[in-house]
Structures are given as C-alpha cells and as structure tokens.
C-alpha cells in the first residue's frame, strides 16, 4: 500500500487504515457467510444447487437497483424514484416482449415473443433507463430543487406511467429470456447464472470507471461539491451521469424482475425503493456521500434477501417477517450511526 515510509510508525498504521477503509465491507461479507451457514443448518431438506439458484434470482433485482442507488448516494444525492422506474420497465418489458397480451379476464394468457425480440426490447429499455435517469438529473440541476423532492415527484410520474402501460398484472416474456437467469448454470451448478450476470455488470459498468476520472468525479461531488468544482470537475455533468447510472441500474432491476417472474406488474417495484436504500446503508456507503463501494452493497442485497428467505423457511408468518426485517434494518443503521458518532468523538 504505502511503500514510501517517512516515519517509523507508518507500517503499523497501514493495517488500521486498511481496516477503516475496508472493514465494513468485510463485515458485510462475514455477515452473509454467517447467514448462509445458518440457512444451511435451518432446513432438514437436502440442500442443493436449487437453493443457491433461487437465492441469486431472488436477490438479483435488489442487487441491481441497490448498486444504482449506491452510485447516486456516493455522488451526494438520492433517488427515490428507482422503485417505480423498476415497475415501469417491468411492465414495458412484459408488454412488448409478447406478440399479444391476451386477456387475463377470460383466462387466455399472453403469447410469448421470440428471444431476439426480448433482447431487443431489453436493450431499448436499458437506453430508456439511462435517458430517463439523465433527465431526472438534468431537472435536478436546472431547477435547483432538492434531489429528494425531484425524485419523489418522478416517483409519482413513473408510477403513473406504469399504470398507464399495464393497469393490472399481465403480459409476459420469452421463455429463453427467463432462462437467462433461471435454469442452467455456468461452469458449475453452484455458480448461478444470475450471480454471473451480476458480477459481469458490476465489472463492466462500475469497475471500469471507479478509479478513473468518471468514478472519482462521482466521489468528489459527493464528498465536497465546491472543492470538486474548484478542482475543475464539471459538476452538473457528473451529477447527471450519476442519475443516469441509477436509471440504468433500475432498468436492469426491472428487467431482472421480468425475467424472474415472467410477468409485468405495475406495483412490482414499489418495495424496492426503501430496500435499495437499506442495502446501500448496510453495504457501508455513507448517506453523506463520498465514501463507500458497491461490493458491500451487493453483499448487503444478498443479506437482506437471505433474511427474508430464512424467515420463510422457519415458517414465520410473512408479516412477522416484515416486522423482523424492518427492525433488523433499523438496528443495523442505528449501530452504524453509533459507529460514526464514536469515530467523530475520537477525531479518527
């Protein structure tokens, strides 16, 4: 890490600095591991690859949208519209990946389109997510309104649009599209496709920019916007980019929902707004911006999904499960808050 040591005490200091920088992420992975072990031990049924598969598929939408939320929060903003964007992309996908919608009331289901069609629609929707996010960022910049308010307003707009596309759950998608995340695996049965897709996206969309100017600019504007500006960063451009990324990841989340559920539901994404913020916080990203990474966020998404799964396995009533999950989130964040406070006091 630091090869040039000018004073004696540097070498020992490195460990502490490493712990400070990566401690939280490591902690989340440890937590995930503990939960996995607990999960394994809590069912008497033979534990197989199917379980790992379903976990990955279950967690994929949240992992995607949480990454996008993480990027926005790192840049010093927040995006409350991600949930409805997911719903919108979900219904758009379900509507246009089929050649005819069928009629749910008479019991005839949608006629699935081809795989090629599904892929084409996906790419268009990704572009849509990017542009919609960019537009949100642009509105935030130009109108000078607080980001919470703008994204709250966009939440309404996208939710309304989703309802306009599909008033009730319906539509569908190509079977092979669904198989992108479900059956079959890559390399080994223990490595679910969903996880591979997640990691590929992570590498392509985030690792490529994280240590270069685009990524550093995001951290900069989240850390201290005026210092970033004086450093010569195009602040509006960076902000718009952050929201465009959030839109893209929300679109990915919506597509993941479509692939996993095979259907479009205008309310499918509602719960993901809160959960994405929870995953981001649990993942070690500071809500003040400028600090944190997406690896922990992804792990946190898995942790949250796993908690729900474990509760279901244990036969806990779904509503108790919600209470427990919510309380867990609150507890985690409280502890996080305490940690920040202690750090502040000791001047660390």
């Amino acid at each position: 890490m630091n090869a040039v040591a000018t004073t004696q005490g540097r070498v020992a200091f490195d460990w502490r600095r490493a712990a400070r920088r990566h401690g939280w992420t490591v902690g989340v992975f440890v937590l995930l591991l503990v939960l996995v072990l607990y999960w394994r031990s809590s069912t008497n049924l033979p534990w197989g690859t199917f379980d790992v598969q379903s976990l990955a598929i279950d967690a994929l939408p949240l992992a995607f949208v949480a990454m996008g939320q993480g990027i926005v929060i790192i840049s010093g903003g927040i995006d409350l519209s991600v949930g409805s964007m997911m719903s919108l992309v979900n219904v758009l996908a379900a509507k246009y990946m089929v050649t005819s919608l069928g009629d749910a009331t008479v019991g005839s289901s949608a006629t699935a389109g081809s795989f090629g069609r599904a892929v084409g629609v996906s790419l268009l929707l990704l572009a849509f997510g990017f542009l919609a996010g960019a537009m949100t960022g642009f509105i935030i910049h130009v109108s000078k309104i607080a980001d919470i308010i703008v994204t709250l307003a966009m939440l309404f707009v996208w939710a309304g649009a989703a309802l306009a596309v599909l008033e009730v759950p319906g539509g569908g998608t190509a079977l092979r599209y669904q198989n992108l995340v479900t059956l079959d695996t890559v390399f080994t049965a223990w490595l679910p496709k969903a996880l591979v897709i997640l990691l590929v996206v992570y590498a392509l969309l985030w690792l490529t920019i994280r240590r270069r100017r685009p990524g550093l600019a995001l951290y900069a504007i989240g850390s201290n916007r005026s210092a970033a500006y004086l450093s010569g960063i195009n602040v509006p451009q960076a902000r718009v980019f952050a929201y465009a990324m959030s839109g893209t990841f929300a679109a990915l989340g919506g597509l993941a929902l479509t692939a996993a559920s095979g259907i479009g539901d205008p309310h499918s994404g509602d719960i993901y707004t809160l959960n994405s913020v929870a995953a981001v916080v649990l993942g070690g990203v500071s809500l003040l911006g400028g600090v944190g990474g997406l690896l922990g966020v992804m792990a946190a998404a898995f942790v949250l999904t796993l908690v729900k799964t474990i509760l279901i396995i244990k036969g806990v009533d779904q509503n108790y499960a919600q209470v427990i999950q919510g309380s867990l989130i609150v507890l985690v964040v409280m502890i996080g808050g305490l940690a920040i406070r202690q750090k502040g006091k000791s001047g660390g």
Binding site: A146, I149, L152, A321, V333, G337, L338
Partner: protein, 326 residues
C-alpha cells in the same frame, strides 16, 4: 454587500418566497373556481357550494394534521416517512379499544403515536441515523406489527364521539374536525414564531453545529419534534377512523406522500431552517381540492400520479429559484 446598490425593482420572486401564504391563497381560490367550472361542465352542478367547501375542509383536516408534524420535522432538516403508518396504528388502537370506552381509546391511540415518535426521535437524535431511513424502517416495522395485530385482535367500529369528530358537521357546514385542527394549527403557528422551542426548531434546522456551540443540546430538540410529529399523526389517525368508521391497513397510505408535498408546496425548505405551517395549511387545502378535481374529471390513477409529480416539481422549482436569487 457594498454601500453602492441600485434601487430595488419590484422583486416578485422575492415576495413569493417570503410570503408564500399570499400566493398560495390565490392558487387555492383559483383552483376552486376551476373546479367549479369543470363540475358545471360535467354535471351542471356548481362546486362552490357550502357543502363542497365544507367537505374540502373536512378532508383537508386529516392531511393538515399529518402535514403539521411533517412541517416540524422538515424544519429541522429531516423527514418523517412514518406519519401514515403511525396514523394507521392510532386508527387501529381506537378500533380495538373502543369497547373500553372512548377516553381510553383516544389516550391509547395518542400514546401509541407518541411512542412511535419517540422511537423515531431516538434513532435520529441519539443514534444519528438518517431520518429518511429511520422513519422508513420504523414505518415498515409498524405496518408489520399492525398486520399481526389485526389478525389477533377484534376490531370494533369506532366510538360515536370519534365518528362525530371525523365525519360530521355542526351548524350545517362546519366540520367537527376543524375543532381539532384549528386550535392545533393556531398553536403551531404561534409556537413557531413566539416560543423558545420554535426558535430552536428553526435554529437546529439551519445549522446544528452553531446551535451546539450556542449551548443547545440538539438531541433534545429533535427528540421533541419527532415525538410531536407522532402525536399529530396519531390525531390525524383518530379523525381518519372516525371518518371511515373502521380501520384497515391501507387507511392512511394515500396521505404519506401528500403530507410531504403539502409541506413543500407550502414553502418550507427540505433542508430546514426556513418555512412555516401557514403555507402547509394552504398546501393541504390545495392538494385536497386537486384530488376532488381529479375525481370529477374521472382521472385514472395513472393520470393522477403523473399530475401529482409534475405539480410538486413545478412548485418546488418556483421556490428554489426564488430562494437562490434572494
């Protein structure tokens, strides 16, 4: 800044920002007229009738109370996303304790609201958790707990007194719930302006570092504000169950985002330190009226949602511009 300055031209935007209440009153009246016109067009009936006006105020009282707590919280730079579930919890308490007497039911309902508010306040003030997350989390927990609760306990209809408060009028046109809303509103407006607590709310919202150096223990102010918000939401819930006569889990959900919207429209900054309740009252009235208008227009959920979003955007933009150029 310097001694040399050009004479001030009529500063429209500045006036709007400083006195949002005036502009909002105009908007409110204009909206009433618009609704009247539309209603006549649709059903040949006037809308500006005594009955309709009083109904608008009746509905608005519930939103107004929830938005009151929200105003206080947002003045300190936070936000409370649990106001709806707190109101729901209070509604449930009324229903479930109705058999034990009206007074007991009301006390329990208010107590639960206060308790939830204290939990929120503890998280935000003492554990320094971000308000958005804390209140969202508490709201999730409350909802889950209520779901379990509703399965386990018998829920009666609301007591007569509560029903009267929530849905009836006296002197033909004056809703009883105004007897709850109006004094509370007056207390809040006067309190924010003329009490030490009010000053501290603005101060902590404006610069908590400075207040600390001035000797304020910020956690006290924040805890009190969130507790008050819980109490006010509980009051809203009581009126709500009186109006509906029964409690169900979704009873208050349609009020959550409007409670934030009403505060924004009313001119309170989300960063805290600036604003007040008078604007929020008008915001609540305007939103309630807007809802009626949309119902008359038979607007679909989709259209309502989109329109809602655009309105919040436009109004917030006007305030932001005014504040920036100030």
């Amino acid at each position: 800044m310097s001694a040399v300055s050009t004479p001030r031209r009529l500063d429209v935007r500045g006036t709007v920002a400083a006195n949002p209440a005036i502009v909002l009153t105009f908007v409110f009246i204009a909206l009433f007229v618009a609704t009247d016109i539309v209603n006549r067009a649709q059903s040949s009936e006037a809308f500006i009738t005594g009955r309709q006006v009083s109904t608008t105020f009746l509905y608005a009282a519930i939103l107004g109370l929830m938005a009151a707590g929200q105003t206080l919280v947002m003045l300190t730079g936070g936000v409370d996303l649990s106001v709806a579930t707190t109101a729901t919890a209070s509604a449930f308490m009324i229903s479930s304790f109705a058999r034990d007497g009206t007074v007991v039911a009301i006390l329990v309902a208010l107590g639960v609201g206060l308790g939830i508010g204290l939990v929120n306040g503890t998280g935000v003030a003492i554990f320094r958790v971000n308000a958005l997350i804390m209140t969202l989390g508490v709201s999730t927990v409350t909802l889950g707990a209520l779901t379990v609760y509703s399965q386990k306990r018998f829920l009666a209809a609301a007591p007569d007194f509560v029903v009267r408060l929530g849905s009836e009028r006296f002197l033909t046109y004056i809703p009883y719930d105004l007897l709850v809303w109006a004094p509370i509103a007056a207390l809040i407006i006067l309190g924010l302006r003329y009490s030490g607590f009010g000053r501290m709310i603005y101060a902590v919202g404006d610069n908590p570092v400075a207040t600390r150096l001035a000797g304020v223990r910020n956690w006290q102010v924040l805890l009190a504000v969130y507790a008050l918000c819980g109490l006010l939401s509980a009051a809203a819930g009581i009126l709500l169950v009186g109006f509906n006569n029964a409690a169900d889990l979704g009873i208050a959900t349609p009020f959550l985002l409007p409670s934030v919207a009403a505060v924004v429209i009313g001119g309170t900054s989300i960063f805290g330190g600036v604003g007040g309740y008078a604007g929020t009252i008008l915001g609540a009235l305007i939103l309630t009226l807007l809802d009626s208008l949309l119902t008359i227009l038979d607007a679909s959920q989709a259209v309502r949602q989109i329109l809602y979003g655009l309105i919040v955007l436009v109004l917030a933009a006007i305030y932001a511009r005014a504040a920036a150029s100030d």
